[in-house]
């Protein structure tokens, strides 16, 4: 009969495992990366830029941020907190105001004929070289918040679900009604010397 092997001492195994654990705690990070996702426009050589047809004043939502981080929306000094409501007003034009953008009836899947803003309507964001990044992000965030809220409201009304829970066809239809069109001009000096 073979002799029974002596049990080996496993108490130091815990120490080894702890050491490995500490190593991983130190060299790894847990932070999930998140942020505002945007697409930049294609690069166009400055010499190739053709004169684009002028866009009507009422179809452009002008947001200016100057070097002192002040916000001017459609010619009025505005607080960042009010930007979202103004953007929503621009994007929906509920009262068919002549100063707010034109609308056209368009065939949209799921919705049928639906009044949407014309193709040329756009949010134009301009910032100064001296604007701080934090303010710029806050403004971007408000603009995106306005669009996301409108999309969510519409999705809830039509499909009874939040925008993110819709399938991709439904999302595309909602996106067609409220597109994310934010154009960023080249920075220039606004206000101040």
């Amino acid at each position: 009969m073979p002799k029974k092997l002596p049990e080996y001492n496993a108490s130091s195994l815990a120490d080894i495992a702890f050491m490995l654990l500490m190593f991983f705690l130190v060299v790894t990070t847990m932070d999930v990366d998140s942020g505002l996702e945007r697409r930049l426009p294609q690069w166009i050589d400055p010499e190739d830029i053709e004169d684009t047809p002028p866009i009507k004043e009422r179809n452009v939502f002008v947001v200016l941020v100057d070097r002192n981080n002040r916000l001017m929306v459609e010619g009025e000094l505005t607080r960042v907190e009010d930007l979202k409501d103004k953007t929503k007003e621009f994007l929906t034009n509920p009262a068919n105001d002549v100063n707010l953008p034109e609308k056209e009836v368009k065939e949209i899947p799921f919705f049928g004929p639906y009044e949407v803003l014309t193709k040329s309507s756009v949010i134009s964001l301009q910032n100064d070289v001296g604007t701080t990044y934090g303010t710029y992000i806050a403004v971007q965030n408000e603009l995106l918040a306005a669009i996301n809220e409108l999309r969510d409201d519409l999705s809830k009304k039509k499909f009874g679900k939040a925008f993110n829970d819709l399938n991709s066809d439904q999302q595309d239809a909602v996106k067609e009604i409220y597109p994310q069109k934010i154009s960023e001009a080249e920075p220039r000096k606004i206000g101040g010397r």
Partner: protein, 154 residues
């Protein structure tokens, strides 16, 4: 009665620690799976701005990072205290971005190259001038999918 009588003089047995390594290993695997390696040492100080409308970056392998911010204390004497650009582990210039994006793109699989995302980790108090320069370079490099890295706000 004698059945239940306590035996005198008996020491309490030592608690078996044989399962302790198992518990620690469980923790270890959890941490190995849920975290990622730190890839760069930060040479610039970045405190991210807050935003609410954020989306998560799903595939980390597709993401390249550009850090912008004032240099850490120990580099102030060489680099000054104005915001600088950091690519990988070094201070770089705006015009190096095209090369950087190109090399990052080459390191991806061919079918993934189109999905490349550039994450901008920019300090809150940086002036927009430098950020706009970076954006123009990214447009030239055809890296159009970008992500302004932010913290989650309320």
């Amino acid at each position: 009665m004698s059945k239940f009588r306590k035996s005198d003089n008996k020491e309490t047995p030592a608690i078996s620690t044989a399962s302790l390594p198992d518990i620690v290993f469980m923790l270890l695997f959890f941490i190995m799976v849920s975290t990622t390696m730190r890839e760069t040492t930060m040479k610039v100080r970045v405190s991210l701005p807050e935003a609410t409308e954020i989306s998560k970056l799903e595939k980390k392998s597709l993401v390249s990072y550009i850090y912008v911010g004032p240099p850490q204390q120990q580099f102030v004497s060489q680099m000054g205290s104005e915001p600088r650009i950091q690519l990988n582990d070094d201070f770089k210039d705006v015009k190096d971005i095209i090369d950087y994006v190109e090399s990052e793109r080459q390191s991806l699989e061919e079918q993934e190259q189109k999905q490349m995302i550039v994450s901008l980790k920019v300090d809150e108090y940086t002036k927009m001038g430098i950020v706009t320069d970076i954006k123009q370079e990214l447009r030239k490099a055809a890296a159009l999918h970008i992500n302004y890295s932010t913290k989650k706000g309320k």
